[in-house]
């Protein structure tokens, strides 16, 4: 969103870049989008490199009066929490939890489910279309958090049994205790993760399949798969990315909300939800403001970056409504 955007040069047709790269070129021109991408990259790098950039074991407790609820210092950059755990390391590992969760939900929910259901609905039409869209409509109508809570709560009661069974009978070992609750919240998020992208993809497919080049490809006998992969999919991609970046904050927020309520990840897994939950209420904030600030500010910046990026991407994909 630079301040003044010059109108597109349309006079010299010979030098116009291929439309495929237009999306990237315009993105690079937007300073705010680049700042957002930079912040998101830092956040994700911190998550990926958590074991190397953290300064301490995120779960190591220091139960002495000097080291509990310590304010930020050169030893503990973000201070320590009520159990004397190093908050900087916990924030870094929380970024890792957010990273894995958003990646898993986007890949399985938005990409696999959403894209395929959207393509199917838009391309097949008729009852397939109506059925998919109606299910999506009603699912987006049920109180999402309530149903996520119900799914999470219903599966949690057997959690320990499953985790111990996995620990004893598979290669997972001690990781089982962290993985099982994680899978539960992924399962709780999936029913809602596909709707938005399926809707976007469907409407794009409907528009694109009437385009002449698609009709032409169909006429010369291109197979359905080839049509979808070669012609429809590339046209859908940019707006699909917009949809994902717009839903990112919501997906990450789902895990944080569940973990905040104690129905999300295992308590031993650092998460922004548990961090913010531990930072507690108004009185705790007055006494130990660092706990809320060091975990709140990274997550605010994370949401803000995705929101800014989403806004900038809409600008690029729908120039008619935005640039003037």
């Amino acid at each position: 969103m630079s301040t003044v955007v010059a109108p597109l040069e349309t006079g010299d047709l010979g030098t116009r870049p291929a439309p495929r790269y237009r999306f990237l070129r315009e993105l690079v021109r937007k300073k705010i989008a680049m700042v957002a991408i930079f912040l998101i990259t830092i956040f994700y790098l911190a998550g990926i490199l958590a074991p190397w950039v953290s300064t301490s074991d995120p779960n190591y407790q220091r139960l002495t009066i000097e080291e509990r609820l310590d304010t930020p210092s050169s030893v503990h950059w973000f201070g320590t929490d009520g159990a004397g755990r190093d908050l900087y390391s916990r924030v870094v590992y929380s970024a890792r939890t957010t990273l894995i969760f958003t990646l898993v939900v986007i890949l399985t929910g938005s990409l696999v489910l959403g894209l395929s259901l959207g393509l199917l609905a838009g391309y097949r039409g008729g009852y397939v279309d109506a059925a998919i869209m109606r299910v999506g409509e009603v699912l987006s109508g049920v109180p999402t958090l309530l149903l996520m809570l119900a799914i999470s709560a219903a599966f949690r009661t057997r959690l320990n049994d499953v985790a111990f069974w996995l620990k004893d009978n598979t290669f997972l070992g001690d990781d089982a205790r962290a993985i099982v609750p994680f899978l539960i919240i992924v399962g709780a998020a999936l029913p809602f993760a596909w709707i938005g992208s399926a809707r976007i993809v469907r409407s794009q497919v409907l528009a694109i399949r009437e385009q002449e080049y698609v009709l032409a490809a169909e006429t010369i006998g291109a197979s359905t798969t080839r049509l979808l992969v070669r012609h429809v999919f590339p046209g859908v991609l940019p707006i699909f990315l917009v949809g994902i970046s717009a839903s990112m904050a919501g997906i990450a927020g789902g895990e944080i909300a569940l973990s905040y309520l104690g129905l999300g990840v295992d308590p031993s897994t650092p998460s922004f939800g548990t961090l913010l939950g531990n930072a507690g209420g108004v009185r705790t904030f007055q006494e130990y403001p660092h706990m809320l600030l060091v975990s709140g500010i990274p997550i605010i910046l994370f949401f803000f970056s995705w929101n800014l990026l989403g806004d900038a991407l809409v600008d690029i994909v729908e120039p008619r409504t935005y640039r003037r």
Binding site: L146, L292, I299, I300
Partner: protein, 317 residues
């Protein structure tokens, strides 16, 4: 119009019924197949097998699942949503209606605030597009939107109640001034969405021919903006307002939790944690039906507002 409209509404409702039945069965199974039931959470530490058996027999939880479901549906058609095991067998309606009133009261105020702020902000951003003000304004509201409620619902009370002393934090009813802070905390994040939608809509309308005509025939800029641009740009707001209607009755969980407001969202959480079968199922069904109704209302409203849009049964479900 009435013929086509009636057909359209009937088609949509017919499509909706199987989906809502499917959802109710899924939620029903989800709750019943969980290895815990309301009796476990009711008795807790005092769990005694004999008492549990008698309580399960009393609520019918010992019968086969399909019988339980059919019984539930049968009662549902008689307007009976079942009883709340956590509230000494008060009916679900008796438990949730007062809480819904509290949440709805707050949400009406929040909604007025969201749209009352979002629409002018969006119009202004659209009018100053091209200058640095536009991205600044939208960016500011996006930042507000990015603050999770469980951060703002801690920092705002700390600032306005403990530091500045402008408000108290006790809940004294929906009409007491103390409600202002929670209402602001829950509504301000929503302004960005409305503002962006309004901004896009205003810009789109500004490019229409009739706006150029209005300018060309020498109308004052103010008249053009107010009665030609903004009036027509408000159309997409019908969808936004319509879609936010069901939210009026579901409440805002973290605001209710952190401000200690006895609303429906808090009740929902406690119902889920206590495996209060009938309350959870009732709330899910209530929410789904409201959403479907809101969607149909939106479509009907469009027919009235914009005569170019005609709903026909042929348009499909």
């Amino acid at each position: 119009m009435s013929q086509g409209l009636a057909g359209y509404v009937i088609r949509r409702l017919l499509w909706t019924v199987p989906v809502i039945v499917a959802i109710s069965i899924l939620v029903f199974l989800l709750l019943r197949l969980a290895p815990q039931d309301p009796i476990d959470s009711l008795l807790g530490q005092r769990y005694d097998e004999e008492i549990a058996q008698r309580l399960r027999a009393k609520y019918g939880y010992d019968r086969p699942l399909h019988i339980q479901y059919l019984k539930y549906v049968q009662n549902l058609f008689q307007g009976d949503l079942g009883v709340s095991t956590r509230h000494g067998d008060f009916s679900v309606a008796e438990v949730i209606v007062p809480k819904i009133r509290v949440s709805a009261g707050m949400n009406v105020m929040a909604m007025i605030l969201v749209f009352g702020l979002g629409i002018p902000v969006g119009v202004y951003a659209a009018l100053v597009r091209g200058s640095f003000l536009d991205p600044l304004i939208i960016g500011f509201w996006l930042l507000i939107d990015s603050i999770p409620v469980f951060v703002s619902a801690v920092v705002a009370p700390w600032l306005f109640a403990l530091q500045l002393g402008w408000v108290d934090l006790t809940y004294e009813g929906v009409l007491h001034p103390n409600i202002i802070l929670p209402v602001f905390v829950m509504s301000l994040p929503g302004v960005a969405g409305v503002a962006r939608l309004m901004r896009a809509s205003v810009i789109q309308v500004s490019n229409e021919e009739y706006v150029r005509t209005a300018r060309a025939k020498g109308l004052r800029e103010r008249t053009v903006v107010v009665s030609h641009v903004v009036r027509n740009a408000l159309l997409p707001m019908v969808t936004a307002i319509g879609l936010s209607l069901p939210g009026l009755f579901t409440g805002s969980l973290f605001v209710e939790l952190l401000f200690g407001i006895p609303g429906i969202a808090r009740e929902s959480l406690q119902a889920v944690l206590g495996f209060d079968f009938d309350v959870v199922l009732g709330l899910v069904l209530f929410g789904s039906v409201l959403f479907v109704l809101a969607n149909i209302l939106i479509d009907i409203a469009y027919g009235f507002i914009d005569p170019r849009i005609r709903i026909t049964a042929a348009r499909g479900a």
